[in-house]
Symmetry: C2
Subunit: 320 residues, 2 copies
């Protein structure tokens, strides 16, 4: 949760004058999204979300994110649609920051994941991968395998403060996962952060995906592996193979895995767990005291990583 | 800004089942309101605000707050309307806390007060006072004159940590203001906290008032005095008599002051400044380190207090 920037009514009125969406009827900061300032904006034309990009998002990446969302929405994925200003720009400046208007996506994200959600998430992820085909820009995955050693280097000396032995475990995992990392798997535009708070439902029906600010060009099956981590563990860290079967079933019904993708699943899942373990560890060790945001527990992902490193094949994920 | 309570989708669905407002289409925590958890709730029936009352609000006071809002809305004041559950209750329990649904009030609060706002605020406050007539419940003003000495007693030893000499200044003000506090002025239901973030505008038109959780039964003119403090000082702490003239003009056009109210204005304005000085001083000295909310500067109100204590009559506020 965070709203970092206070937008004056005059600044908002000036900003909206560049768009064809009427004047503001209501404007409220939303307590969602850690890195950007998000506002629910109701105008005479309808309901929108206005985002001010704070320091985590590189302005140079905005054409990729906003262009991808526009492309995805035009090719069958339900997601917020960036609204162009009258001059065609998808982002403008507000309060000294890049800012964008997007359509409002109805739905509520599931605070507790139920089995019924998982098949729908798999299907939506396959839809996203198919819808992204043909989008011409690319963005390297800054948090992909090549980023893990540098990220760990910034934490290595202090990993054992979080739990004795954690550093050794991470080093062994890095060695094994990077050594086994697959080559040549199908790739394209991936979400890379499809956690429950980025998936909206209306009742049991999935109503859309949000938050494309980790999207990048990488392995499709790695995106599935992120979802296995995000959706298929219970709060006690046990792996729920029924959820995994449903998620993978939903995905592969729309885009079947290649044999190489199936074989790589344990490595990809372990890599995805390691990625979140490393970013959480980094934030845990480096967050300023008294900051707004409570860092998330890195050890949750150390437990998930152990599960994946012990997995022997795709069968451990419910794939026949 | 604060959302303290995470509401699961199942808990929300159960809660909404007791109302006739349909199912949730969207549910987002709002980064407004320091003491309660507020959510924008869109249902198949329309847009609402759902409030979970955290510890600052005494559940025993909810019938007063929610009943008053219902009464005010029925008597000509535009404010959120509490929505009754199917059994008639204006509040129910959600996540172990008292919770209420209110209609959504369009509008944007002014981040920078302009002269045009002030007349409208005065008019709206007089409308509120008239609309409250006939509402039978009462609630003592816990932050009124009888509460100031006990509040100061909890800060007295440390006031000079904030600024050397502040303690002596407060003690002299307490003595003078309580000694001069008027008796027998017209009283009734007052808002008691009508700051800019509680007043919505659409363009230059005032569209309604929110946040009645300091409302109480007290002097009408004291409510006006709170507004003089909240709306008529510039960011550099200078008093803007044009704004005061507009605010008082808007108010008295609808409800003329009695001679006693006019004469008491400097004392009431000083008392209102002292009330906010004391609560801010208390929060400044007692807020837990690392808490979400940055306490507001008590010295802003020490400066306002000095202005009022130097005022000689209502003429210093632009009243002829």
């Amino acid at each position: 949760m965070a709203v970092y920037t206070e937008v004056s009514d005059e600044a908002l009125a000036d900003f909206l004058a560049a768009y064809d969406i009427g004047g503001a009827i209501s404007f409220k900061g939303i307590a969602e999204g850690v890195e950007n300032s998000n506002y629910l904006l109701l105008t005479t034309a309808g309901q929108y979300v206005l985002t001010l990009y704070e320091k985590r998002v590189d302005p140079a990446d905005l054409p990729y994110y906003l262009g991808l969302m526009t492309h995805l929405a035009a090719h069958g994925l339900t997601c917020p649609l960036p609204v162009a200003a009258r001059d065609g720009a998808l982002s403008r400046t507000l309060c000294g920051r890049p800012a964008a208007v997007q359509t409002f996506l109805p739905g509520v994200w599931p605070r507790r994941v139920r089995n019924e959600h998982c098949g729908a998430v798999g299907t939506a992820l396959a839809t996203l991968h198919a819808a992204g085909e043909g989008f011409a820009l690319t963005r390297a995955n800054a948090l992909g395998p090549s980023g893990w050693r540098p990220l760990y280097a910034r934490c290595a000396g202090r990993a054992d403060e979080v739990r004795p032995g954690l550093g050794g475990e991470i080093e062994a995992a890095l060695e094994a996962i990077l050594g086994a990392w697959p080559e040549g798997l199908p790739k394209g535009h991936i979400h890379a952060d499809l956690f429950p708070d980025n998936v909206f439902f209306l009742g049991d029906r999935l109503s859309g995906l949000i938050d494309f600010y980790f999207a990048c060009t990488d392995l499709y099956a790695y995106d599935v592996a992120v979802c296995l981590n995000a959706w298929c563990f219970e709060p006690d860290a046990s792996f729920n193979v029924t959820k995994a079967k449903l998620l993978l079933g939903g995905y592969t019904a729309r885009r079947p895995f290649t044999a190489a993708e199936r074989a790589a699943l344990p490595t990809l899942a372990a890599g995805a767990a390691l990625r979140f373990l490393l970013t959480r560890l980094h934030d845990w060790l480096h967050h300023p005291p008294g900051a707004f945001v409570t860092p998330k527990d890195p050890l949750e992902y150390a437990r998930k990583l152990r599960f994946h490193r012990a997995a022997r094949s795709e069968r451990d994920y419910g794939l026949d």
